[in-house]
C-alpha cells in the first residue's frame, strides 16, 4: 500500500508535523459543544455554550465563540475535528494520562520519537525535531536528534558567529566525505535561517498572540519555510485544568489557541499543504459542572487536525449523546476514538503504514478517516 504522501503529490520527507498539547485536560464539551443535545444543556446550566452563541459546525456541534478565528479554516475544509477522543488510561490523573498518551503504551520512548527514529528518512538534521519550551516532552523521547528551544536565537554560534561559520566551512571544505557533506548541509541551513531572521516579517504573521505560544508557532512557521528539514515540532499550551471558574480560565486559553492557529495558517500560506497541525489533550472533563463553576477530570475530549491535506469541515467520531447509559464511570464522556487512530493517518503521510504500526506497539490501529 503506498503511503498517502505519494498520493497527494507531496513527498513524505517534505512534510512537517506540529503537535500542540493542551496540558491539563481540555474540556472538549466547551471547545466543540454538542449544542443540539438537551442533555448537554441540562448538565451544564452555567458553563454551557448556548445554541445562539455557538458557531455552528454541523447538526450537533458548535465551536465556542472564542474559537471564531478557526471558522475560516473550517469553512475552507482544512480543519477537521474528532470528538470523544482520548486514550485507554482511565486513572483521570494528569501525570498518568499524559504519560500513557505520550509514550503510547509501555514501550520505551515516546510515540513521536519512536516514529522519527523508525522512519529514518536519511541523515537527521540538527533541526529535524524541535520542542518549543524548556523540556523535551515525553512524546519526543527517543528521536534521533531532538532540540529543545525557547527561541531560534539559541540556534547560533554566539558573538562573532559570522566569521566562525565561514572559517568552519573552510575547515570542512577539504573533507570529501560524509562529514564534509553533513557540514555543508548544516552551514546552508544556518545561512537560510539567518536570511529568514533578517528578512522583513510577512504582514500576515503580525497577529500571532504575543506570548510563548504565539512565538513558538511563528518560529515553527519560519523553520518550515526555511526548508531546514524540520520533521516534527511540539508546542505545549497550558491552562486547561478548569476545576473552578472554568470560563475565566478557558476563554483566554481558547483565544490563544485559535488566534495562534489562524496566524500560523495565514503565515504559512501554500506551505500549509505540507504541514499538519494536530491539537491534543490528555483527557476531557466531567460532563456535569461542579459547584465551583468548573469541571473535574473526565475521559473523552476533542482533537483538531489542520492542514497537510486533511479533509476537514467535518466532525469525526460520531456523537453517542449524554444519556446516563452513554456515560462512563462518574459521568464522563466515553472515549470512542483512541487518539492513536487520529495520529496514525497523519503519520501515514510521512512513512509507510508498517512504520506507523511499529510506532504504536501493542495496539491494533484503525485509522480515522481524516483524509478520506
Amino acid at each position: 500500500m503506498p503511503s498517502l504522501g505519494f498520493v497527494t503529490g507531496i513527498a513524505p520527507r517534505d512534510r512537517t508535523l506540529v503537535v500542540i498539547f493542551l496540558r491539563g485536560g481540555a474540556d472538549g464539551l466547551t471547545l466543540v459543544a454538542p449544542v443540539a443535545d438537551d442533555a448537554y444543556h441540562r448538565a451544564r446550566p452555567t458553563l454551557r455554550v448556548t445554541e445562539r452563541e455557538g458557531l455552528p459546525l454541523d447538526d450537533v456541534f458548535a465551536l465556542h465563540p472564542r474559537l471564531a478565528p478557526l471558522v475560516p479554516l473550517w469553512a475552507s475544509g482544512e480543519l477537521a475535528i474528532v470528538h470523544s477522543v482520548g486514550s485507554e488510561d482511565a486513572t483521570r490523573s494528569h501525570f498518568e494520562a499524559q504519560d500513557l498518551m505520550e509514550h503510547a503504551g509501555t514501550a520505551a520512548g515516546g510515540w513521536l520519537g519512536r516514529f522519527l527514529r523508525l522512519r529514518a528518512i536519511g541523515q537527521p538534521g540538527a533541526l529535524c525535531a524541535v520542542a518549543f519550551g524548556t523540556e523535551l516532552p515525553a512524546a519526543l523521547r527517543g528521536a534521533p536528534s531532538a532540540t529543545v528551544l525557547r527561541s531560534l536565537s539559541t540556534f547560533s554560534l554566539g558573538d562573532g558567529a559570522h566569521g566562525m561559520l565561514r572559517a568552519i566551512a573552510d575547515l570542512y571544505a577539504i573533507e570529501h566525505n560524509a562529514i564534509g557533506e553533513s557540514a555543508r548541509d548544516t552551514v546552508n541551513a544556518l545561512q537560510r535561517l539567518e536570511r529568514l531572521a533578517n528578512a522583513p516579517r510577512p504582514l500576515a504573521a503580525a497577529d500571532y498572540p504575543r506570548d510563548d505560544f504565539g512565538e513558538a508557532l511563528r518560529q515553527t512557521a519560519q523553520l518550515v519555510r526555511a526548508g531546514v528539514g524540520l520533521e516534527a515540532a511540539t508546542i505545549d499550551l497550558g491552562g486547561w485544568d478548569s476545576h473552578f471558574t472554568q470560563q475565566q480560565l478557558l476563554e483566554p486559553a481558547m483565544d490563544r489557541l485559535a488566534r495562534g492557529l489562524a496566524a500560523f495558517h495565514r503565515d504559512l500560506g501554500p506551505d500549509m499543504a505540507r504541514t499538519t497541525v494536530v491539537v491534543m489533550t490528555e483527557f476531557g472533563r466531567r460532563v456535569a459542572e461542579n459547584s465551583a463553576l468548573g469541571t473535574d477530570h473526565g475521559r473523552g475530549s476533542v482533537m483538531f487536525a489542520l492542514g497537510g491535506g486533511v479533509r476537514g469541515g467535518r466532525v469525526l467520531g460520531g456523537w453517542p449523546g449524554l444519556g446516563s447509559d452513554a456515560l462512563e464511570g462518574p459521568g464522563d464522556l466515553p472515549v470512542r476514538t483512541n487518539y492513536r487512530n487520529v495520529l496514525a493517518p497523519i503519520l501515514s503521510t510521512m512513512a509507510e503504514p508498517s512504520v506507523v504500526a511499529r510506532a504504536f506497539p501493542g495496539f491494533n490501529l484503525e485509522p480515522a478517516a481524516l483524509f478520506g
Binding site: 540538527a126 515525553a138 523521547r141 554560534l157 566562525m164 572559517a167 575547515l171 560524509a178
Partner: protein
Amino acid sequence: MITRRQFVELGGTLAAVSALACEEAPPQLASLLTPATEPVAPPASDDVDLVSHVVGRLSFGPRPRDHANVRSIDPDTDRAVERYVDAQLAPEAIDDTAVETRLRRYGELEESAGELYEYKEQVLLASLTSAAILRARYSERQLHAVMVDFWTDHFNIDSAKGDCRWLKAADDRDVIRAHALGSFPEMLRASSLSPAMLWYLDGRVNRYGAPGDRPNENYARELLELHTLGVHGGYTQQDVMEMARALSGWTVRSRREVVFGLGKVEFHPEWHDDGEKHILGRVIPAGLGSRDLDAVLDLISLHPSTARHLATKLCRRFIADDPPATAVDRVASTFVSSRGNIAGTLRALFATPEFMRVRRTKLKRPFHFVVSALRATDARTDGGPALHEMLRRMGHAPYQYPTPDGYADDETSWLGTLLWRWNFAAALASNRIAGTHLEPAAVRSTLGGEAGLRAHILARRPTVAEREILAAAPDSLPLLLASPAFQRY
C-alpha cells in the same frame, strides 16, 4: 624531567603517572614530573603518532599534559605505550581519589536499590548524568570509563521506563561499573538479576502460573539477540521461547505491590516453569528451579557466537566502524580462551596490528566529543544541567536511549549533530556554559604557546590549509574544537 629509574624509585606504579599529572595531585610529587608551570611538548609530527592514537582510543581524549606524560614513561615509545595500556587495564591500581572526592556529593547513587526509592527520580537521573560526565572528565581510570560507556549501551536501560527511574542507579553501580573490565559471564549474570533490567525488559512479569500461560519473551529475546549471541548468532524463535520459560519466576518487588523490600529481586517457584527445556540443542532437565538461570547463562555467556558478537562490537569501538575480520577473529578467540575476561580480551585487541595501524577512523559520539573538549582544555566543570542540556540536543543524553540496542556506535548515526558541536565549541571557548570554566591562556602556556595548543587539539601539526584558516581567525580555540580533526579519534 625525571628519569625512569627515579620514577620507579618514587614507588609509583606506572599507572600513577597519569594520576600524578592530574591537577589535584599533591604538588610536591607533581612537580617532580611536569611542574605545573613548565610547558610540555605537544605532539610534533604531521600525522597522528602512536601515543596520540592510543591515548585517544583508550580515553575520553588527551589533556594538555597527557601526551608528554605517556612519552615520559619510557624513552622507547612502543614500551611507553605498552605500559600505559597495561596500567589502564588494571584500574584498581590507579589512584582515583580526585574524582572520588568530586563524586562525594552524589551519595544517593551509593544507596541500595530499596533506598533509591527515597529520592526523586529527576534527582537520580541528574546525579547519574553528572557522575558520568565527571568520571569521564576527571577519572584517571580512563579506559574503565570508556568501557562503562560501552557496556551502558550494550546492556542499555532507559531510565524512564517504570521503576528504572530509581533502579538504574543501582544497575550502573553493581552491573556496569563493577564489571566493566572484569568477567563477562559475571557481568551477564549480574545484569540478568539487576532489578532495573528486570523492569526494563519485563523479566519481572515473565510468570508461568498455569498450563497455557505464555512466557513474556522480551528479556529472553534481547538476552540472545543483543547481550550475547547476536542477531545472527544461530538461535531460533523456539530457543527464545524456551529461554523465556527457563527465566520465568524471577521478579522484583515493585512500588505498586509492596511497601517493604522495594527493588528486591527474588525467585518465585510458583511462577517458574520447571519443565524440561531445549535450548540451542541442549537439554535443561526438569526440576532445576532457580538453577535454570545459571544453566542457561552457562550455555550462552562464552558461546562462540557471543565471542564473535562482542569482539565485533569491541573492534567497532576501538578500531573502525567496519572492523577488520582478522582482528575480530583474534579478539573473539581470546575472549573464549580467557573465559570472558574483559581486560584480557582488550589486551589482545590493543595488540592487533589493525589497532596499532589505524588512525582517526572513528567519529566521536556527542558525549565523547563534549568530554574530550573539556579534557583538552583543562576545563573545570560541575558536570551539571547545562551540559545535560547540550547532550540532549545532540540526541545523546546518558541513560535515556529508549530501545534495548543502546546508542549507535557508527559515524552515520551522529553526523546530524555537527551544528550543536560547533555551538558547544563556541560556547565552551568563550566560557558561556554555566558550571564550566576554562582559562585559554593557561592552556596555551602549558603547551608552550599557540602552536602547541594547535598540535595538542588536532593531535598532530596543522596542515598548511588549517594554518591559514586558523591564522585568519580572531580566536583559534573554538575553531580547533569545532574542526573535523577534533571530531575524530
